[in-house]
Protein backbone atom coordinates (compact mmCIF):
# COMPACT_ATOMS: atom_id res chain seq x y z
CA UNK A 1 0.00 0.00 0.00
CA UNK A 2 1.27 3.44 -0.93
CA UNK A 3 0.42 6.60 0.93
CA UNK A 4 0.19 9.76 -1.11
CA UNK A 5 1.12 13.20 0.18
CA UNK A 6 -2.61 13.91 0.40
CA UNK A 7 -3.11 10.83 2.55
CA UNK A 8 -0.40 12.01 4.94
CA UNK A 9 -1.90 15.49 5.12
CA UNK A 10 -5.30 13.92 5.80
CA UNK A 11 -3.82 11.83 8.62
CA UNK A 12 -2.11 14.90 10.08
CA UNK A 13 -5.42 16.75 10.02
CA UNK A 14 -7.22 13.90 11.77
CA UNK A 15 -4.58 13.78 14.49
CA UNK A 16 -4.68 17.54 14.83
CA UNK A 17 -8.41 17.39 15.50
CA UNK A 18 -8.20 14.38 17.79
CA UNK A 19 -7.43 14.17 21.52
CA UNK A 20 -4.27 12.13 20.94
CA UNK A 21 -0.88 13.69 21.53
CA UNK A 22 1.22 11.03 19.87
CA UNK A 23 0.57 8.83 16.88
CA UNK A 24 2.66 6.32 15.01
CA UNK A 25 1.69 4.49 11.83
CA UNK A 26 3.70 1.88 10.04
CA UNK A 27 2.74 0.71 6.56
CA UNK A 28 5.42 -1.52 5.12
CA UNK A 29 8.61 0.53 5.05
CA UNK A 30 6.79 3.79 5.58
CA UNK A 31 6.68 5.13 9.12
CA UNK A 32 4.73 8.19 10.18
CA UNK A 33 5.21 9.64 13.62
CA UNK A 34 3.12 12.58 14.70
CA UNK A 35 3.36 14.40 17.97
CA UNK A 36 1.38 17.35 19.25
CA UNK A 37 2.87 19.72 21.76
CA UNK A 38 6.24 18.62 23.09
CA UNK A 39 8.50 16.90 20.62
CA UNK A 40 9.00 13.19 21.09
CA UNK A 41 12.02 12.78 23.34
CA UNK A 42 14.94 10.99 21.74
CA UNK A 43 16.23 7.84 23.35
CA UNK A 44 17.45 8.54 26.87
CA UNK A 45 16.39 12.16 26.97
CA UNK A 46 13.28 12.75 29.00
CA UNK A 47 13.16 16.52 28.58
CA UNK A 48 13.59 18.51 25.39
CA UNK A 49 16.48 20.94 25.59
CA UNK A 50 15.16 24.38 26.50
CA UNK A 51 12.07 23.53 28.50
CA UNK A 52 12.03 26.66 30.53
CA UNK A 53 14.06 29.75 31.16
CA UNK A 54 15.68 30.98 34.28
CA UNK A 55 13.21 32.98 36.36
CA UNK A 56 15.67 35.87 36.60
CA UNK A 57 14.71 38.78 34.36
CA UNK A 58 16.53 38.94 31.06
CA UNK A 59 19.60 41.14 31.13
CA UNK A 60 19.40 44.49 29.40
CA UNK A 61 20.64 44.67 25.82
CA UNK A 62 23.64 46.75 26.84
CA UNK A 63 24.91 44.12 29.25
CA UNK A 64 27.06 42.44 26.63
CA UNK A 65 29.25 40.64 29.11
CA UNK A 66 26.38 38.88 30.83
CA UNK A 67 25.54 35.48 29.47
CA UNK A 68 22.02 35.39 28.06
CA UNK A 69 20.56 33.39 30.92
CA UNK A 70 20.91 29.93 29.49
CA UNK A 71 20.26 28.15 32.79
CA UNK A 72 17.72 25.56 31.87
CA UNK A 73 15.59 25.00 34.92
CA UNK A 74 12.59 22.96 33.86
CA UNK A 75 9.48 23.78 35.81
CA UNK A 76 8.90 20.66 37.84
CA UNK A 77 5.25 19.73 37.78
CA UNK A 78 4.61 17.53 40.84
CA UNK A 79 3.00 14.17 40.29
CA UNK A 80 -0.76 14.45 39.95
CA UNK A 81 -0.65 18.21 39.29
CA UNK A 82 -1.40 20.14 36.12
CA UNK A 83 0.19 23.27 34.75
CA UNK A 84 -1.15 26.29 32.96
CA UNK A 85 1.33 27.19 30.27
CA UNK A 86 1.92 30.33 28.21
CA UNK A 87 -0.07 30.11 24.95
CA UNK A 88 2.37 32.57 23.33
CA UNK A 89 5.62 34.26 24.20
CA UNK A 90 5.78 37.76 25.61
CA UNK A 91 5.59 39.65 28.89
CA UNK A 92 3.40 37.96 31.48
CA UNK A 93 1.14 40.04 33.73
CA UNK A 94 -0.59 38.64 36.76
CA UNK A 95 -3.16 41.45 37.09
CA UNK A 96 -5.27 43.43 34.64
CA UNK A 97 -3.39 46.65 35.46
CA UNK A 98 -0.59 47.79 37.79
CA UNK A 99 -1.75 47.81 41.42
CA UNK A 100 -4.92 45.88 40.70
CA UNK A 101 -5.56 42.58 42.47
CA UNK A 102 -4.25 39.55 40.54
CA UNK A 103 -6.55 37.60 38.26
CA UNK A 104 -6.14 34.51 40.45
CA UNK A 105 -4.59 33.63 43.84
CA UNK A 106 -3.25 30.48 45.41
CA UNK A 107 -6.14 28.43 46.71
CA UNK A 108 -8.61 29.81 44.19
CA UNK A 109 -10.87 27.47 42.24
CA UNK A 110 -10.64 27.89 38.49
CA UNK A 111 -12.38 26.42 35.47
CA UNK A 112 -11.18 26.09 31.89
CA UNK A 113 -12.46 29.55 30.99
CA UNK A 114 -11.00 31.46 33.95
CA UNK A 115 -8.67 34.25 32.86
CA UNK A 116 -5.42 33.78 34.77
CA UNK A 117 -3.21 36.48 33.28
CA UNK A 118 -2.22 38.61 30.33
CA UNK A 119 0.63 38.22 27.89
CA UNK A 120 1.80 41.29 26.05
CA UNK A 121 3.39 40.97 22.64
CA UNK A 122 4.37 44.29 21.07
CA UNK A 123 1.75 46.36 22.91
CA UNK A 124 -1.03 43.84 22.25
CA UNK A 125 -2.43 42.21 25.38
CA UNK A 126 -3.69 38.66 25.09
CA UNK A 127 -5.67 37.09 27.91
CA UNK A 128 -4.53 33.71 29.14
CA UNK A 129 -7.25 31.17 29.84
CA UNK A 130 -6.71 28.39 32.36
CA UNK A 131 -7.67 25.58 29.93
CA UNK A 132 -7.59 23.22 32.95
CA UNK A 133 -9.92 22.93 35.95
CA UNK A 134 -8.95 22.78 39.62
CA UNK A 135 -7.29 24.77 42.40
CA UNK A 136 -4.27 27.05 41.96
CA UNK A 137 -1.48 25.72 44.19
CA UNK A 138 1.48 27.77 42.95
CA UNK A 139 2.18 30.84 40.86
CA UNK A 140 5.33 29.92 38.94
CA UNK A 141 5.83 32.94 36.69
CA UNK A 142 6.43 36.40 38.05
CA UNK A 143 4.57 39.54 37.18
CA UNK A 144 6.29 41.34 34.29
CA UNK A 145 8.44 38.33 33.43
CA UNK A 146 9.29 37.44 29.84
CA UNK A 147 7.83 33.99 29.19
CA UNK A 148 8.33 31.61 26.31
CA UNK A 149 5.69 29.68 24.45
CA UNK A 150 4.78 26.63 26.56
CA UNK A 151 6.39 27.89 29.78
CA UNK A 152 4.57 26.98 33.02
CA UNK A 153 2.72 29.92 34.63
CA UNK A 154 0.72 28.20 37.36
CA UNK A 155 0.49 24.80 38.98
CA UNK A 156 -3.03 23.52 39.46
CA UNK A 157 -4.38 20.68 41.56
CA UNK A 158 -7.12 19.00 39.55
Amino acid sequence: MELSEDDVLHILKLIDESKFDYFQLEVGELKITVSKGDPIPIAGATQPAPVSVSPSPAPAPKAAAAAPAPSVKPAVIPEGMLSITAPLLGTFYIAPEPGAPPFVKVGQQITEDTTVGLIEVMKVFNSVRAVVKGTIVEVVAQNGQFVEFGQALYIVKP
Binding site: T33, P48, A49
Partner: protein, 454 residues
Protein backbone atom coordinates in the same frame (compact mmCIF):
# COMPACT_ATOMS: atom_id res chain seq x y z
CA UNK B 1 25.04 49.88 15.54
CA UNK B 2 25.73 47.38 18.24
CA UNK B 3 25.68 43.66 17.58
CA UNK B 4 26.53 41.89 20.81
CA UNK B 5 23.72 39.38 21.13
CA UNK B 6 21.91 38.11 18.04
CA UNK B 7 18.46 36.58 17.87
CA UNK B 8 18.69 33.89 15.18
CA UNK B 9 15.22 34.11 13.64
CA UNK B 10 15.40 30.96 11.58
CA UNK B 11 15.94 27.22 11.87
CA UNK B 12 17.76 24.33 10.24
CA UNK B 13 21.23 24.52 8.80
CA UNK B 14 21.22 28.30 8.31
CA UNK B 15 20.50 28.88 12.01
CA UNK B 16 23.53 26.73 12.81
CA UNK B 17 25.61 28.58 10.20
CA UNK B 18 24.68 31.98 11.68
CA UNK B 19 25.36 30.84 15.26
CA UNK B 20 28.81 29.57 14.27
CA UNK B 21 29.62 32.83 12.46
CA UNK B 22 28.61 34.75 15.61
CA UNK B 23 30.65 32.45 17.82
CA UNK B 24 33.78 33.02 15.75
CA UNK B 25 33.35 36.76 16.34
CA UNK B 26 32.58 36.43 20.05
CA UNK B 27 28.95 37.45 19.58
CA UNK B 28 26.29 35.80 21.77
CA UNK B 29 23.33 34.07 20.18
CA UNK B 30 19.76 33.27 21.11
CA UNK B 31 18.06 30.67 18.92
CA UNK B 32 14.39 31.44 18.28
CA UNK B 33 12.79 28.00 18.03
CA UNK B 34 9.30 26.67 17.50
CA UNK B 35 7.98 24.00 19.81
CA UNK B 36 9.07 21.38 17.25
CA UNK B 37 12.67 22.66 17.26
CA UNK B 38 13.38 22.70 21.01
CA UNK B 39 15.87 19.87 20.62
CA UNK B 40 17.38 21.20 17.39
CA UNK B 41 21.12 21.66 16.94
CA UNK B 42 20.65 25.44 16.84
CA UNK B 43 18.91 25.30 20.25
CA UNK B 44 21.78 23.22 21.61
CA UNK B 45 24.72 25.31 20.37
CA UNK B 46 23.29 28.81 20.91
CA UNK B 47 23.91 30.52 24.26
CA UNK B 48 20.21 30.20 24.83
CA UNK B 49 17.07 29.12 23.03
CA UNK B 50 13.70 30.79 23.27
CA UNK B 51 10.46 29.12 22.20
CA UNK B 52 8.51 31.50 19.97
CA UNK B 53 5.40 29.44 19.31
CA UNK B 54 3.86 26.21 18.06
CA UNK B 55 5.40 24.12 15.24
CA UNK B 56 3.38 25.65 12.41
CA UNK B 57 5.59 28.38 10.95
CA UNK B 58 2.71 30.83 10.49
CA UNK B 59 2.41 30.82 14.31
CA UNK B 60 6.14 30.97 15.02
CA UNK B 61 8.87 31.71 12.46
CA UNK B 62 6.54 33.88 10.36
CA UNK B 63 5.29 36.10 13.21
CA UNK B 64 7.10 39.44 13.26
CA UNK B 65 5.74 40.39 16.68
CA UNK B 66 6.87 37.10 18.28
CA UNK B 67 10.40 37.55 16.96
CA UNK B 68 10.62 41.15 18.16
CA UNK B 69 9.23 40.18 21.58
CA UNK B 70 11.70 37.26 21.75
CA UNK B 71 14.61 39.58 20.90
CA UNK B 72 13.54 42.11 23.52
CA UNK B 73 12.75 39.49 26.15
CA UNK B 74 16.18 37.87 25.84
CA UNK B 75 18.14 41.10 25.62
CA UNK B 76 19.21 40.80 21.99
CA UNK B 77 20.40 43.95 20.23
CA UNK B 78 20.42 42.40 16.75
CA UNK B 79 18.46 39.91 14.66
CA UNK B 80 19.57 37.67 11.78
CA UNK B 81 16.69 36.50 9.57
CA UNK B 82 18.55 33.73 7.67
CA UNK B 83 16.90 32.91 4.34
CA UNK B 84 13.26 32.08 3.59
CA UNK B 85 10.67 32.80 6.30
CA UNK B 86 10.71 36.57 7.01
CA UNK B 87 14.12 37.32 5.52
CA UNK B 88 12.70 39.30 2.61
CA UNK B 89 9.75 40.91 4.36
CA UNK B 90 10.28 44.61 4.77
CA UNK B 91 7.93 44.48 7.80
CA UNK B 92 10.51 42.59 9.88
CA UNK B 93 13.39 44.89 8.90
CA UNK B 94 11.21 47.90 9.73
CA UNK B 95 9.99 46.44 13.05
CA UNK B 96 13.64 45.95 14.03
CA UNK B 97 14.40 49.60 13.25
CA UNK B 98 11.32 50.72 15.20
CA UNK B 99 12.40 48.70 18.24
CA UNK B 100 16.11 49.61 18.19
CA UNK B 101 17.21 46.17 17.08
CA UNK B 102 19.93 45.95 14.43
CA UNK B 103 18.57 44.04 11.44
CA UNK B 104 21.41 41.99 9.95
CA UNK B 105 20.45 42.54 6.36
CA UNK B 106 19.50 45.33 3.96
CA UNK B 107 17.24 48.29 4.62
CA UNK B 108 13.46 47.81 4.58
CA UNK B 109 13.40 50.18 1.60
CA UNK B 110 15.77 48.00 -0.44
CA UNK B 111 13.76 44.89 0.42
CA UNK B 112 10.56 46.58 -0.77
CA UNK B 113 12.17 47.89 -3.97
CA UNK B 114 13.54 44.52 -5.00
CA UNK B 115 10.53 42.55 -3.77
CA UNK B 116 8.40 44.26 -6.41
CA UNK B 117 9.74 42.64 -9.57
CA UNK B 118 8.51 45.45 -11.83
CA UNK B 119 10.15 48.08 -9.66
CA UNK B 120 13.33 45.96 -9.70
CA UNK B 121 13.24 45.93 -13.52
CA UNK B 122 12.96 49.71 -13.58
CA UNK B 123 15.95 50.08 -11.28
CA UNK B 124 17.95 47.60 -13.35
CA UNK B 125 17.13 49.51 -16.53
CA UNK B 126 18.19 52.80 -14.97
CA UNK B 127 21.47 51.18 -13.89
CA UNK B 128 22.10 50.07 -17.47
CA UNK B 129 21.65 46.36 -16.69
CA UNK B 130 20.25 44.33 -19.60
CA UNK B 131 16.68 43.09 -19.18
CA UNK B 132 15.00 40.19 -20.92
CA UNK B 133 13.17 41.72 -23.93
CA UNK B 134 9.61 42.19 -22.80
CA UNK B 135 7.12 44.66 -21.46
CA UNK B 136 6.57 46.23 -18.06
CA UNK B 137 2.90 46.73 -18.61
CA UNK B 138 0.38 44.21 -19.81
CA UNK B 139 -2.82 45.58 -18.35
CA UNK B 140 -5.35 43.39 -20.09
CA UNK B 141 -5.53 40.30 -22.33
CA UNK B 142 -5.91 42.39 -25.49
CA UNK B 143 -2.89 44.54 -24.75
CA UNK B 144 -0.89 41.44 -23.83
CA UNK B 145 -1.75 39.96 -27.24
CA UNK B 146 -0.52 43.06 -29.07
CA UNK B 147 2.69 43.29 -27.05
CA UNK B 148 3.31 39.58 -27.58
CA UNK B 149 3.49 40.13 -31.34
CA UNK B 150 6.41 42.52 -30.78
CA UNK B 151 8.19 40.33 -28.19
CA UNK B 152 7.69 37.05 -30.05
CA UNK B 153 6.69 33.58 -28.80
CA UNK B 154 7.29 31.66 -26.65
CA UNK B 155 7.15 34.14 -23.78
CA UNK B 156 6.57 34.26 -20.05
CA UNK B 157 3.83 36.02 -18.14
CA UNK B 158 5.15 36.92 -14.71
CA UNK B 159 3.49 38.24 -11.55
CA UNK B 160 5.05 41.47 -10.35
CA UNK B 161 4.73 40.25 -6.76
CA UNK B 162 6.13 36.78 -7.55
CA UNK B 163 9.75 35.69 -7.47
CA UNK B 164 11.84 32.63 -6.72
CA UNK B 165 10.16 30.80 -9.58
CA UNK B 166 6.62 31.49 -8.36
CA UNK B 167 3.95 33.25 -10.41
CA UNK B 168 5.32 32.38 -13.86
CA UNK B 169 3.34 31.10 -16.87
CA UNK B 170 4.74 30.00 -20.24
CA UNK B 171 2.81 31.06 -23.34
CA UNK B 172 3.72 29.09 -26.47
CA UNK B 173 1.69 30.86 -29.14
CA UNK B 174 -0.86 33.57 -29.93
CA UNK B 175 -3.83 31.24 -29.39
CA UNK B 176 -2.95 30.86 -25.69
CA UNK B 177 -2.13 34.43 -24.74
CA UNK B 178 -5.53 35.79 -23.73
CA UNK B 179 -6.64 32.76 -21.70
CA UNK B 180 -3.28 32.39 -20.02
CA UNK B 181 -3.30 36.09 -19.16
CA UNK B 182 -6.64 35.73 -17.35
CA UNK B 183 -5.48 32.61 -15.46
CA UNK B 184 -2.14 34.16 -14.51
CA UNK B 185 -3.81 37.34 -13.25
CA UNK B 186 -6.32 35.35 -11.17
CA UNK B 187 -3.57 33.18 -9.70
CA UNK B 188 -1.38 36.16 -8.90
CA UNK B 189 -4.32 37.85 -7.16
CA UNK B 190 -4.95 34.72 -5.09
CA UNK B 191 -1.30 34.01 -4.26
CA UNK B 192 0.15 37.50 -3.78
CA UNK B 193 -2.88 39.79 -3.47
CA UNK B 194 -1.64 41.67 -6.54
CA UNK B 195 -2.57 40.80 -10.12
CA UNK B 196 -0.04 43.03 -11.90
CA UNK B 197 1.66 41.06 -14.67
CA UNK B 198 4.58 41.74 -17.00
CA UNK B 199 5.95 39.87 -19.99
CA UNK B 200 9.36 38.48 -20.87
CA UNK B 201 10.74 36.67 -23.90
CA UNK B 202 11.36 33.01 -23.04
CA UNK B 203 14.99 31.90 -23.25
CA UNK B 204 14.87 28.18 -24.02
CA UNK B 205 18.52 27.16 -23.73
CA UNK B 206 19.37 29.06 -20.57
CA UNK B 207 21.66 28.98 -17.59
CA UNK B 208 20.91 30.48 -14.21
CA UNK B 209 23.84 32.71 -13.29
CA UNK B 210 23.85 34.79 -10.14
CA UNK B 211 26.28 37.26 -8.61
CA UNK B 212 27.13 37.58 -4.92
CA UNK B 213 27.15 41.16 -3.69
CA UNK B 214 28.45 42.73 -0.48
CA UNK B 215 27.72 46.33 0.42
CA UNK B 216 28.60 48.23 3.60
CA UNK B 217 27.00 51.25 5.25
CA UNK B 218 29.60 53.60 3.76
CA UNK B 219 28.57 53.19 0.13
CA UNK B 220 31.15 50.53 -0.76
CA UNK B 221 29.70 47.77 -2.94
CA UNK B 222 31.69 44.89 -4.41
CA UNK B 223 30.86 41.61 -6.09
CA UNK B 224 32.26 38.30 -4.83
CA UNK B 225 31.97 36.52 -8.15
CA UNK B 226 29.23 34.52 -9.75
CA UNK B 227 27.64 31.09 -9.40
CA UNK B 228 25.99 28.72 -11.86
CA UNK B 229 22.74 27.31 -10.42
CA UNK B 230 21.26 25.84 -13.57
CA UNK B 231 20.44 22.43 -12.09
CA UNK B 232 16.94 22.99 -10.78
CA UNK B 233 13.80 21.03 -10.11
CA UNK B 234 10.60 23.06 -10.20
CA UNK B 235 12.71 26.23 -9.87
CA UNK B 236 14.39 24.84 -6.74
CA UNK B 237 18.16 24.66 -7.06
CA UNK B 238 19.70 21.26 -6.40
CA UNK B 239 23.34 21.59 -7.50
CA UNK B 240 25.25 24.90 -7.48
CA UNK B 241 28.75 25.75 -8.59
CA UNK B 242 31.25 28.56 -8.64
CA UNK B 243 32.65 29.96 -10.83
CA UNK B 244 30.20 29.91 -13.79
CA UNK B 245 32.46 27.59 -15.77
CA UNK B 246 30.49 27.67 -19.03
CA UNK B 247 30.31 31.44 -19.43
CA UNK B 248 33.27 33.08 -21.21
CA UNK B 249 35.47 35.05 -18.77
CA UNK B 250 34.82 38.41 -20.46
CA UNK B 251 31.03 37.87 -20.19
CA UNK B 252 31.40 36.85 -16.54
CA UNK B 253 33.21 40.09 -15.86
CA UNK B 254 30.40 42.04 -17.51
CA UNK B 255 27.71 40.19 -15.52
CA UNK B 256 29.51 40.81 -12.23
CA UNK B 257 30.06 44.49 -13.01
CA UNK B 258 26.40 44.89 -14.00
CA UNK B 259 25.33 43.34 -10.70
CA UNK B 260 27.61 45.58 -8.65
CA UNK B 261 26.38 48.71 -10.45
CA UNK B 262 22.75 47.74 -9.77
CA UNK B 263 23.46 47.21 -6.06
CA UNK B 264 25.43 50.48 -5.94
CA UNK B 265 22.51 52.29 -7.56
CA UNK B 266 20.22 51.51 -4.60
CA UNK B 267 22.91 51.91 -1.95
CA UNK B 268 22.60 48.26 -1.02
CA UNK B 269 24.06 47.10 2.27
CA UNK B 270 24.71 43.54 3.55
CA UNK B 271 24.90 40.37 1.43
CA UNK B 272 22.63 40.07 -1.58
CA UNK B 273 22.39 38.12 -4.81
CA UNK B 274 21.49 39.33 -8.27
CA UNK B 275 20.15 36.65 -10.57
CA UNK B 276 20.53 36.55 -14.34
CA UNK B 277 19.44 34.38 -17.22
CA UNK B 278 22.30 33.53 -19.55
CA UNK B 279 21.44 32.48 -23.11
CA UNK B 280 23.68 29.52 -24.01
CA UNK B 281 23.12 30.14 -27.74
CA UNK B 282 23.83 33.88 -27.96
CA UNK B 283 25.98 34.49 -24.82
CA UNK B 284 23.59 37.33 -23.88
CA UNK B 285 22.64 37.82 -20.23
CA UNK B 286 19.57 39.40 -18.70
CA UNK B 287 18.60 40.59 -15.21
CA UNK B 288 16.08 38.32 -13.50
CA UNK B 289 15.70 39.47 -9.89
CA UNK B 290 17.57 40.39 -6.75
CA UNK B 291 17.43 38.39 -3.54
CA UNK B 292 17.93 40.67 -0.56
CA UNK B 293 19.29 38.08 1.86
CA UNK B 294 22.01 35.49 2.33
CA UNK B 295 21.46 32.70 -0.18
CA UNK B 296 21.34 28.94 0.52
CA UNK B 297 24.23 28.35 -1.91
CA UNK B 298 26.54 31.04 -0.48
CA UNK B 299 29.18 28.44 0.56
CA UNK B 300 30.40 27.79 -3.00
CA UNK B 301 31.41 31.46 -3.19
CA UNK B 302 33.08 31.23 0.21
CA UNK B 303 35.06 28.18 -0.89
CA UNK B 304 36.62 29.82 -3.96
CA UNK B 305 37.21 33.25 -2.38
CA UNK B 306 37.87 32.55 1.29
CA UNK B 307 35.37 35.30 2.21
CA UNK B 308 33.08 34.46 5.17
CA UNK B 309 29.86 35.98 3.82
CA UNK B 310 27.78 35.54 6.98
CA UNK B 311 30.68 36.95 9.02
CA UNK B 312 30.75 39.95 6.68
CA UNK B 313 27.01 40.45 7.23
CA UNK B 314 27.77 40.82 10.95
CA UNK B 315 30.66 43.23 10.37
CA UNK B 316 28.54 45.32 8.00
CA UNK B 317 25.64 45.42 10.48
CA UNK B 318 28.07 46.79 13.08
CA UNK B 319 28.83 49.65 10.71
CA UNK B 320 32.34 48.53 9.82
CA UNK B 321 33.59 49.28 6.31
CA UNK B 322 34.29 46.31 4.01
CA UNK B 323 37.82 45.09 4.77
CA UNK B 324 38.63 44.57 1.08
CA UNK B 325 38.38 46.32 -2.26
CA UNK B 326 37.13 44.73 -5.46
CA UNK B 327 40.70 44.06 -6.59
CA UNK B 328 41.40 42.16 -3.34
CA UNK B 329 38.82 39.49 -4.18
CA UNK B 330 40.64 36.51 -5.73
CA UNK B 331 39.12 33.34 -7.10
CA UNK B 332 40.78 29.99 -6.68
CA UNK B 333 39.67 26.61 -8.03
CA UNK B 334 36.13 25.29 -8.36
CA UNK B 335 33.41 24.56 -5.81
CA UNK B 336 30.27 22.42 -6.11
CA UNK B 337 27.37 22.18 -3.66
CA UNK B 338 24.73 19.45 -3.53
CA UNK B 339 21.56 19.96 -1.53
CA UNK B 340 20.81 16.89 0.55
CA UNK B 341 17.03 17.04 0.90
CA UNK B 342 14.79 14.67 2.84
CA UNK B 343 13.02 13.60 -0.32
CA UNK B 344 12.47 10.19 -1.76
CA UNK B 345 13.82 10.10 -5.33
CA UNK B 346 12.28 6.71 -5.92
CA UNK B 347 8.81 8.01 -5.02
CA UNK B 348 8.43 11.13 -7.11
CA UNK B 349 10.61 13.20 -4.75
CA UNK B 350 7.99 13.32 -2.03
CA UNK B 351 9.18 14.78 1.28
CA UNK B 352 10.35 12.22 3.79
CA UNK B 353 10.33 13.48 7.39
CA UNK B 354 11.12 11.18 10.31
CA UNK B 355 13.82 9.96 12.66
CA UNK B 356 17.38 9.79 11.36
CA UNK B 357 18.82 6.55 12.69
CA UNK B 358 22.21 6.78 10.96
CA UNK B 359 24.09 9.93 9.94
CA UNK B 360 27.55 9.12 8.72
CA UNK B 361 28.85 12.16 6.88
CA UNK B 362 31.98 12.36 4.74
CA UNK B 363 35.08 14.23 5.92
CA UNK B 364 38.31 15.16 4.26
CA UNK B 365 40.32 17.77 2.44
CA UNK B 366 38.16 20.18 0.49
CA UNK B 367 34.90 18.81 1.92
CA UNK B 368 32.51 20.99 3.90
CA UNK B 369 29.12 20.05 5.33
CA UNK B 370 26.62 22.66 6.52
CA UNK B 371 23.94 20.85 8.47
CA UNK B 372 21.74 20.72 11.55
CA UNK B 373 21.26 16.95 11.42
CA UNK B 374 22.71 14.13 13.51
CA UNK B 375 21.92 10.50 14.31
CA UNK B 376 18.77 10.45 16.43
CA UNK B 377 17.44 13.78 15.10
CA UNK B 378 13.77 13.82 14.18
CA UNK B 379 13.15 15.71 10.94
CA UNK B 380 9.85 17.49 11.60
CA UNK B 381 7.20 17.50 8.89
CA UNK B 382 6.43 21.22 9.18
CA UNK B 383 9.33 22.79 7.33
CA UNK B 384 11.37 22.54 4.15
CA UNK B 385 13.26 19.35 3.45
CA UNK B 386 16.86 20.62 3.39
CA UNK B 387 18.96 18.40 5.66
CA UNK B 388 22.45 19.42 4.65
CA UNK B 389 24.57 21.09 2.04
CA UNK B 390 27.57 19.09 0.91
CA UNK B 391 30.20 21.41 -0.55
CA UNK B 392 33.55 20.53 -2.07
CA UNK B 393 36.45 22.57 -3.36
CA UNK B 394 39.19 21.44 -5.74
CA UNK B 395 41.60 22.92 -8.28
CA UNK B 396 39.40 22.19 -11.31
CA UNK B 397 35.74 21.44 -12.03
CA UNK B 398 36.60 17.90 -12.97
CA UNK B 399 38.48 17.31 -9.72
CA UNK B 400 35.62 18.91 -7.74
CA UNK B 401 33.10 16.61 -9.45
CA UNK B 402 35.24 13.57 -8.59
CA UNK B 403 35.53 14.77 -5.01
CA UNK B 404 31.80 15.38 -4.49
CA UNK B 405 30.96 12.03 -6.06
CA UNK B 406 33.28 10.28 -3.62
CA UNK B 407 31.83 12.31 -0.74
CA UNK B 408 28.25 11.40 -1.75
CA UNK B 409 29.34 7.78 -1.97
CA UNK B 410 30.66 7.98 1.60
CA UNK B 411 27.54 9.72 2.94
CA UNK B 412 25.35 7.21 4.76
CA UNK B 413 21.93 8.21 6.06
CA UNK B 414 19.32 5.78 7.36
CA UNK B 415 15.83 6.16 8.76
CA UNK B 416 14.68 8.59 6.09
CA UNK B 417 15.14 8.82 2.32
CA UNK B 418 17.42 11.48 0.87
CA UNK B 419 18.43 12.80 -2.53
CA UNK B 420 21.91 11.22 -2.21
CA UNK B 421 21.32 8.32 -4.66
CA UNK B 422 19.86 10.68 -7.27
CA UNK B 423 22.66 13.23 -6.80
CA UNK B 424 25.22 10.49 -7.49
CA UNK B 425 23.64 9.73 -10.85
CA UNK B 426 23.62 13.44 -11.67
CA UNK B 427 27.29 13.98 -10.82
CA UNK B 428 28.29 10.80 -12.70
CA UNK B 429 26.36 11.79 -15.82
CA UNK B 430 28.63 12.41 -18.87
CA UNK B 431 26.57 15.45 -19.91
CA UNK B 432 26.95 16.97 -16.46
CA UNK B 433 30.68 16.22 -16.57
CA UNK B 434 31.05 17.92 -19.93
CA UNK B 435 29.04 20.91 -18.72
CA UNK B 436 26.43 20.53 -21.47
CA UNK B 437 23.49 21.44 -19.24
CA UNK B 438 20.80 24.11 -19.03
CA UNK B 439 17.95 24.98 -16.67
CA UNK B 440 15.78 22.16 -18.02
CA UNK B 441 18.41 19.45 -17.98
CA UNK B 442 17.80 18.22 -14.43
CA UNK B 443 14.04 17.84 -14.95
CA UNK B 444 14.72 15.53 -17.90
CA UNK B 445 17.22 13.47 -15.88
CA UNK B 446 14.68 13.26 -13.12
CA UNK B 447 11.97 11.89 -15.38
CA UNK B 448 14.37 9.24 -16.65
CA UNK B 449 15.45 8.45 -13.09
CA UNK B 450 11.88 8.14 -11.80
CA UNK B 451 10.89 5.93 -14.76
CA UNK B 452 13.87 3.68 -14.06
CA UNK B 453 13.25 3.58 -10.29
CA UNK B 454 9.49 3.14 -10.62
Amino acid sequence: MSVTRVLVANRGEIAVRVIKACQSLGIETVAAVSDADRESMAAQIANRAVCIGPPRSTDSYLKVENLIAAAQGTGCDALHPGYGFLSERAALAQACVDNNITFIGPSAENITQMGDKLEARKIARSAGVPLVPGSDHARNPGEAGELAEQIGYPLLLKASAGGGGRGIKLVSNAREIEDTFRTAAAEARAAFGNDTLYMEKYVGNARHIEVQILGDQHGNVIHVGERDCSLQRRHQKIVEEAPAYAVPPEVRTKICEAAASLARRIGYRSAGTIEFIYDNDTADFYFLEMNTRIQVEHPVTEMITGVDLVGQQLHIARGEPLPFKQSDIRFAGHAIECRINAESPQHGFRPCPGRITEWNAPHGDGIRLDTHCYAGYFVPPYYDSLLAKLIVHAATRSAAADRIYAALDNFHVSGIDTLIPFLKTVIADPEYRSGAVNTQWLEKKLEAYSAQAG
